[in-house]
């Protein structure tokens, strides 16, 4: 025996082992891929041998290749073989490979259930350990359900090594099989007080993960954790517990109050920075949850901020980073205490480390005020210039916009300054945030009426310099701003000074190189411009100038008519025709301007993005009710639907009736207006119902400070926004002086009367009056909109299934499934059993159903056959779906529930019919089964279903053979011949034919291409048709199904 083994390993020593493989790959740097494919071929040979050592060696090499990116799923079956080796050495190799490449979609994974169960109960603790480690990586819902009970037993194993692993893996089991949480929880709780620190730490770990997702279910554990926190000395455990408290405090403010003291003590006493940091973090969370400003808490805040400042000032970049991170949390609730450290944070902006700069940027967001916004943005603009060509610059850009636009432009006192900042940003090369700038321009121009005049002048300038922006292909992102510029100039054309010039700029041939959607906006808006110019000229009586401008349009528009972009082309041709018509009228000297401008009457107001969702359903409206009575099944289908259709058609055709008198029309128009007035979706034209050129916005919108137009729009050598900063400073200064004067006056008046009003005023927030009486139009919402914000929850959250009440007593039905003999179970489970747990997600419910169905199944053996068929049908449907989706969809889960229950049910057929191919004539499904008589053959049963109304005949099936798999053909025929299907198909009939394939190896999955040719015969004659398909042989399909009796 020993000799044989020695001989075996002598053979083996000339095989490549992992080290040889690695060395070989390193020696074949030039043709690595070729070398590896050679090695894979060798490995395939090795896998075919019976010696488990050889197989293990091969699998070990495959694991290495997997790391290099090679798919090794084809060897899944061999990996399972190695996993089931008796020696720990091989077992470990097998489990490692499995943990690296198995997943829920691996079809052979269901074969591992019994092996893993065996390993879990192995007397060798390392066998158990290695199985637990492996399982933690590839546990599926089936494995979780079938093994939950075994793992739970291991939680009370005598060896702490096993206990801690079993405790940890329970988290994975809970995730995959949420029903196990309640039965396992008491034991898990017990482990929090395990004598072994490792086990304790594992239990804390698992409960923290659970509680993080659904904190409210774990509040009852707070006292226990509190005790642990004050007694434990293990920093890992402490950190986890403190983090957990951070998640719990928002739900229970009383807990927070209790925590502050011990946490403060820890902060003072610990020397471990990680613990200190987490303590500070949790104190912050507590303070946030206690938001009501209690007096003694300001001390805690001060302590936190002060400790964080120490972190930020530290030379260790990691601490600096974390300090900034935590600081941003304080910022949300206590901005004042952070703002005093502005100097420090601005300093961090200069740090060489990008992560730190980004964090500092985040902080800036919350630190701006009316007073310092301009200063901060100015600093950021300097950084933007420095950060040429990095992603950090893009980040800066978005931050600038975020900072300025936050809470409805709350901190912007001077919108001229903001617009000029935006214009300055358009000079950035190669940014991908052009659309962001564009959106801001649009938003500001629309919502701040007072700024429109200025915005339009700036946008006109941009359009004029469009060649700068659009010329460089690198700047592609930035050309989005032209979209905004064109629209603003068009929509608010009444503010344009040099409308002619702008129109000219928009008609330049260069414009046609812009992206289509921008050109479309150009085309549409040049008409708006044109309309306003036309009106201007007509009113001034300059008929010739008006005709000139029309001529210009007619000359230049054709370049857009030729555009390859459909939108541009369509708009341009429409508009060209319109203008040609206008020209005709102009020649006849008919005044047209009024009518042209009426095309663009009305003002657009922004609508809130959620407005549609928030419209309440009116009382008495049932959206689920049928509008028409559903046709009942009993009625003959031919007659009734027709009449319904007929009725409807009559009703519809009425309004379209051509002969409608004027009166009727007017009446209808009135009714429609009425309706629109009550309709929340209809965007009402605000104050002035018809926007006319003369109707300049109301007096209250005129800027308080007139723009000094003598200042050139561009100052050479100085960014424009600086100009406005200066202006603003002067303005503020003036304002202050005025105020001071007033105050002095007041003082004089009030001297001796009210002293407390005279407390010294430094310039505070409120003192800075905005330069414009800014009328920021808020987004429209439907009246009586619902204030709900529930639409943000993700229904597919995997952790939702774990939202389970853990304090309820455990019901019998919830016990984990245990391996049992079938007859015993059939007696035990009454049919009417209803699981009393509330399951909040749908998934477990469905599963439960299936489960029950199965149990019923067992109880009534008579019905079994019938049910089985049904399930089979269901399954084949499921498979079709899941094939399309490829994700671990619900269907797949349901399906695998079926497959995984090897133990307590007679084996369901391993495979069932799935779709092979389909076309309008014929649908084919197939099933592969191992041949009991000849183990190198499989039988493929194909069901042909005639879906057409024609007769199908002369069907012939042909498959392109592969090296491994060949179709068995009658003797004498060549490999290229097809096999005739031995029947013909009348319409609507299906029949089954079987084809035999021979195999070389059963460890290889295969896909065979093939064709089905047939003749379609109907009244018009017969046609030859073809249907291509792919036959998929998975490794599992080679298995032979045998009933198992115990």
């Amino acid at each position: 025996m020993a000799l044989k083994m020695v001989k075996g390993s002598i053979d083996r020593m000339f095989d490549k082992n992992l080290q040889d493989l690695v060395r070989g790959i390193r020696n074949h740097k030039e043709d690595e891929a070729k070398y590896i494919s050679q090695c894979i071929d060798e490995i395939k040979q090795e896998l075919k041998q019976d010696n488990i050592a050889v197989k293990a060696n091969a699998v070990c090499k495959l694991t290495y290749l997997q790391m290099l990116g090679y798919d090794i799923s084809w060897a899944a079956f061999n990996i399972i073989e190695v996993m089931s080796a008796s020696k720990f050495t091989f077992k470990r190799i097998g489990y490692l490979a499995a943990s690296q490449c198995f997943h829920e979609g691996t079809d052979v994974i269901m074969l591992t259930t019994n092996q893993i169960r065996k390993d879990l109960s192995s007397p060798n603790q390392y066998d158990t350990g290695v199985a637990l480690t492996g399982l933690s990586c590839f546990v599926t819902p089936d494995l979780a359900r079938d093994l939950a009970n075994d793992i739970m037993t291991l939680m009370s194993h005598t060896k702490p090594y096993i206990r801690k692993k079993a405790v940890l893996i329970m988290y994975k089991v809970f995730l995959k099989y949420p029903e196990s949480l309640r039965p396992a929880f008491p034991r898990l709780k017990e482990k929090l007080e395990d004598p072994d620190p490792g086990v304790q730490s594992a239990a804390v770990n698992v409960i923290c993960e659970l509680a993080r997702r659904n904190p409210k279910n774990y509040l009852s554990l707070a006292p226990l954790f509190f005790k642990l926190m004050t007694s434990s000395t293990n920093n890992w455990v402490l950190i986890k517990i403190i983090k957990l408290f951070g998640a719990l405090t928002p739900l229970e403010p009383r807990l927070g109050k209790k925590l502050i003291e011990p946490l403060t003590n820890l902060i003072h006493s610990t020397s471990a920075m990680s613990l200190l940091y987490e303590c500070v973090n949790t104190v912050i969370a507590v303070l946030i949850s206690l938001s009501s400003g209690m007096p003694n808490h300001s001390a805690s805040i001060q302590l936190c901020v002060q400790k964080l400042r120490i972190l930020i000032e530290d030379s260790d970049q990691n601490l600096k980073y974390l300090g900034l991170l935590a600081m941003s949390k304080i910022l949300k609730t206590h901005p004042k205490s952070v703002q005093s450290h502005k100097d420090l944070i601005l300093q961090c902006l200069d740090d060489k480390d990008e992560s730190i700069r980004l964090r500092a940027l985040d902080l800036l967001y919350g630190m701006v005020s009316k007073k310092n916004l301009m200063e901060i943005v100015k600093k950021l603009m300097i950084h933007v210039d420095k950060a040429e060509g990095t992603t950090y610059r893009d980040e800066l850009l978005t931050k600038i916009i975020d900072i300025c636009s936050q809470s409805n432009y709350q901190y912007i006192t001077n919108f001229e300054w903001y617009i000029s900042i935006l214009v300055e940003l358009t000079r950035l090369e190669g940014t991908r945030h052009g659309h962001l700038i564009a959106a801001q321009m649009l938003d500001v121009a629309i919502r701040v009426k007072a700024i429109r005049k200025f915005a339009v002048s700036q946008m006109a300038m941009l359009l004029d310099n469009a060649h700068l922006i659009a010329s460089n292909t690198q700047r592609n992102g930035i050309c989005e701003v032209l979209y905004a510029a064109a629209w603003i100039c068009g929509e608010f054309s009444e503010h344009l000074e040099e409308a002619n010039q702008t129109l000219e700029a928009m008609l330049r041939p260069k414009v046609t190189t812009l992206p289509g959607h921008i050109q479309a906006v150009y085309v549409q808006n040049m008409v708006k411009l044109y309309a306003s110019i036309l009106q201007q000229k007509e009113q001034a009586g300059e008929k010739e100038a008006a005709q000139e401008i029309t001529q210009l349009m007619i000359e230049r528009l054709p370049q857009f008519v030729q555009s390859a972009d459909l939108e541009v082309q369509e708009r341009a041709s429409c508009i060209l025709q319109l203008i040609k018509y206008i020209q005709k009228l102009q020649v006849k000297e008919v005044p047209v301007a009024e009518e042209v401008i009426a095309l663009f009457a009305g003002e657009l107001n922004p609508v809130a993005p959620k407005a549609q969702k928030k419209v309440p359903v009116p009382e008495g409206l049932d959206l689920d009710a049928w509008i028409n009575e559903p046709p009942s099944d009993s009625e003959s289908e031919d007659e009734k639907p027709k009449t319904i259709f007929h009725d409807e058609e009559q009703r519809h055709s009425k309004p379209r009736h051509p002969e409608m008198d004027e009166e009727e029309l007017a009446r209808r128009r009135e009714a429609r207006k009425q309706e629109q007035a009550n309709n929340p979706f209809y965007i009402k034209s605000s104050p002035s119902p018809q926007k006319r050129y003369q109707d300049t916005p109301g007096v209250e919108h005129i800027p308080v400070v007139q723009i000094d137009l003598s200042v050139p729009l561009k100052v050479p050598g100085m960014p424009m926004s600086d100009q406005y900063v200066k202006l603003e400073e002067e303005r503020r200064h003036k304002q202050k002086l005025e105020k001071d004067k007033k105050k002095k006056k007041q003082k004089k008046e009030k001297r001796g009367k009210h002293h407390r009003h005279n407390s010294l005023h430094t310039e505070s927030e409120e003192d800075i009056a905005p330069a414009h009486h800014v009328d920021i139009i808020t987004e429209e919402m439907p009246e009586n909109a619902l204030p709900s914000d529930e639409d943000d929850k993700d229904p597919n959250d995997p952790y939702k299934a774990l939202d389970i009440d853990l304090d309820k007593p455990l019901a019998d039905s919830e016990k984990l499934p245990v391996q049992r003999h079938r007859n015993a179970e059939a007696l035990k489970t009454p049919e009417s059993e209803v699981p009393p747990v509330e399951k909040k997600s749908k998934k477990p419910k469905k599963k439960e159903k299936k489960h029950k169905e199965k149990e019923k199944d067992k109880g009534k053996k008579k019905e079994k056959e019938k049910k089985h068929k049904k399930e089979k049908e269901e399954k084949s449907k499921d498979k079709k779906k899941s094939k399309k989706k490829h994700h671990h969809s619900e269907e797949e889960m349901a399906e695998s529930v079926q497959n995984g229950t090897l133990d307590d049910e007679p084996l369901p057929p391993m495979s069932s019919y799935r779709l092979l191919a389909e076309n309008p004539y014929i649908k084919t499904t197939y099933d592969i089964q191992g041949n009991l008589q000849n183990d190198s053959q499989v039988t493929v049963s194909v069901i042909f279903e005639n879906k057409s109304t024609s007769f199908l005949k002369s069907m012939e099936l042909n498959v392109l053979d592969s090296l491994n798999t060949k179709m068995l053909r009658p003797e004498g025929s060549s490999v290229h011949d097809g096999i005739p299907v031995p029947f013909q198909l009348p319409p609507g009939i299906s029949n089954e034919a079987q084809f035999v394939f021979t195999l070389q190896s059963i460890v290889m999955a295969q896909k065979l291409k093939g064709t089905l040719s047939f003749i379609v015969k109907n009244d018009e004659g017969s046609t030859h048709e073809k249907l291509d398909f792919k036959l998929h042989f998975s490794c599992a399909s080679y298995l032979i199904t045998t009933p198992c009796y115990r």
Partner: protein, 193 residues
């Protein structure tokens, strides 16, 4: 939760990859490449945290890495892990490797990736930290090695001999890529265990 653990060298060659979430092999390679690009362009004296690997990710996740001589050790974790704690875990990991391989260097990782996996399995299981005590880890690893040796027994002898011969030329490859400064201690983290 730890989402992934990657080790690669200064050129982006993977030396170990362990994903605790399912990704296809192609995606895994892409993640490794992306992570390498993010990490490799960072200077030495910057912080060890990185946000936003696009692939492995989401906003909740962070990359925490350490650079030792020729190797990068990268952990991708979500917000339930303490950043400084993970940094320390990496240190424990490297120290454990150093102990198990006796003065570990990149070559050890290249040729014995299976052993590295086994060591890692004693520290992190299914994405959760299992053990942080180095002595405990080393004890378990030693016990398993002993078990392996006893299994090989008589039959293992020739194979060991052959691999010894094969490894004879190993020293020719310069061992100067040693992780010499393995004992870098995290400043300000004196009493963390």
């Amino acid at each position: 939760m730890i989402k992934a653990i990657l080790i690669f060298n200064n050129h982006g060659k993977p030396r170990l990859s362990k994903f605790y979430q399912r990704y296809s092999e192609d995606t895994q390679q892409q993640i490794i490449r992306e992570t390498f690009h993010l990490v490799s362009k960072r200077d030495e004296n910057v912080c060890n945290f990185l946000e936003g690997g696009l692939l492995i990710g989401g906003s909740d996740n962070k990359l925490i890495y350490r650079h030792y001589a020729t190797l990068y050790f990268v952990f991708c974790v979500d917000s339930s892990e303490s950043e400084l704690g993970i940094l320390d875990l990496i240190q424990v990991f490297v120290e454990t490797l150093d102990k198990c391989f006796e003065n570990v260097c990149e070559l050890d990782l290249i040729f014995h990736v299976d052993k590295v996996h086994n060591i890692l399995a004693e520290m992190v299981m299914g994405g959760m930290v299992l053990e942080t005590n180095m002595n405990e880890i080393v004890t378990q690893i030693d016990a398993q090695n002993k078990l392996e040796k006893s299994e090989a027994g008589l039959a293992g002898a020739p194979a060991r001999a052959v691999s010894a011969v094969k490894n004879m030329n190993l020293p020719e490859i310069p061992r100067n890529i040693n992780i010499g400064d393995i004992s870098i201690k995290v400043p300000n983290l004196p009493t963390f265990k």
